[in-house]
Symmetry: C2
Subunit: 203 residues, 2 copies
Amino acid sequence: MFIGAQVSLYPMTSDFVGVILSGLEALAPYRDHLRIQTDDMSTLMVGAPEPLFGAMRDLFAGAARSPAHVTMHATISRGCPGEPDEPSCRCEVLAVAQGLPLADRQAQALAAVQGAPLAGVEIDVQFSLYVLGQDRHMDEIYGCIDFLKSSGTFLTSKNFCTRLRGDAGAVFETLRQAFLRFGPAEGHVTIDLTASANSPSRR
Amino acid sequence: MFIGAQVSLYPMTSDFVGVILSGLEALAPYRDHLRIQTDDMSTLMVGAPEPLFGAMRDLFAGAARSPAHVTMHATISRGCPGEPDEPSCRCEVLAVAQGLPLADRQAQALAAVQGAPLAGVEIDVQFSLYVLGQDRHMDEIYGCIDFLKSSGTFLTSKNFCTRLRGDAGAVFETLRQAFLRFGPAEGHVTIDLTASANSPSRR
C-alpha cells in the first residue's frame, strides 16, 4: 500500500513566500513519520493516514491563523496500482475496516469526528472522494455522503463535490474518515481537496 | 451526460480580488455556451468540453499575463451518475471516441494538440485523471500517459499526478484530449487539475 498527498498552500498576499515558509514549519513534528519533499508546485507527503491528515491539518490551521486569505489544495491517494508498496504507510484502521458493513463504518467514522481535538480555527473545505477500479463505486460514495451529512461538519452538496465547514480539527478528521472507511481497504481511493480560510467573500 | 468543473483562481498578491474579478471577464465570450455560477470557494461551469476547456484556458492565461504568481485549481467531471442529463453538454468527439481502439484515440489526441492555437504564455500544470466504475481503469490511465509523453507538453511524472509545461493553448488542449479520449464515452471520468504561472521558485 502506498499512501500520500501532493499539497499546495496558496496565501492571497504579496508576502506569500513568507506565509508558505512559516507554514512549512508546522510540518516539523511529522518529518519522522512522513516522507516530505517540496518542489515548485507542491509538497509530497508519503505515510500513514494518521500523520498524513494531521500534517495537512496543522499546515493549513497554522496558515489560517494569519489574517491573510489562504487556500490549500491536496491530491490525496491510497492504493494506486502504479505506486510501490511502502511499509511506512501501513494503517490498522484500514485493515480493520475491511469487511465491516457500511453502517458500522459510518458509526466508527462519526465517533472519530466527535472525538477530534479542537484546532481553534474555523475553515471551509470542498472535496471529492473517488473510489476507483470498482463497478459499484457509487454505493461507497453515497454511503460516505450519508456519513458526511451526520458529521457535524457538513455544509452543503455542490456539483462534483461536498462542502464542509467547521473547526479545522473536526473537518480534517471528517476527511480522514471519509478516506479510510469508504471504498475497499486494498482499493484505489483518492480525494481532490480544497480548503479556504479568511475569505473576504464570507465577511 | 453532465459535464462541468468547479474552478478557483488563486493570485498570490494582496490585490487578489482585483486579479480574480478581471480574470472573470475572460469568461464573457463563454457565457452563452456554459452555465457559470460563482460562490465564495469556486466557479461552477457546466457545458460541453469545447467551451469548458476554452474558458478555463482563457481565464488562466489572462491571469498568467499579469506579473503576479497565480495558480488555478479545477475539479472537472463528466458522466457522474449522481448528476442529471444536460443537453448543453452533448459532445460529438466523445460519441465518436466510443469504440475506437486506444491507438487511434492517441493519434487523434496528438493531432488536436499539434493544431492548438498559441496563447502566448507559458504555464505549468499538474493533474490526475480518474476513470471510475471500471475494473480495468488503469489500462485507460496508462494509455493516456503514453499520449501525454508524446504530446510535447509532458514535463515529468510525479507521485499521484503528471506534470505538463508549455504554451497555455497546447497545455489546455492536452488536458481536453486526456479528458475526452480516455475512459468510456458514457463513463464517469474526472480530472484534479492545478495550474501555476510566474512562480518565483522557477526564476
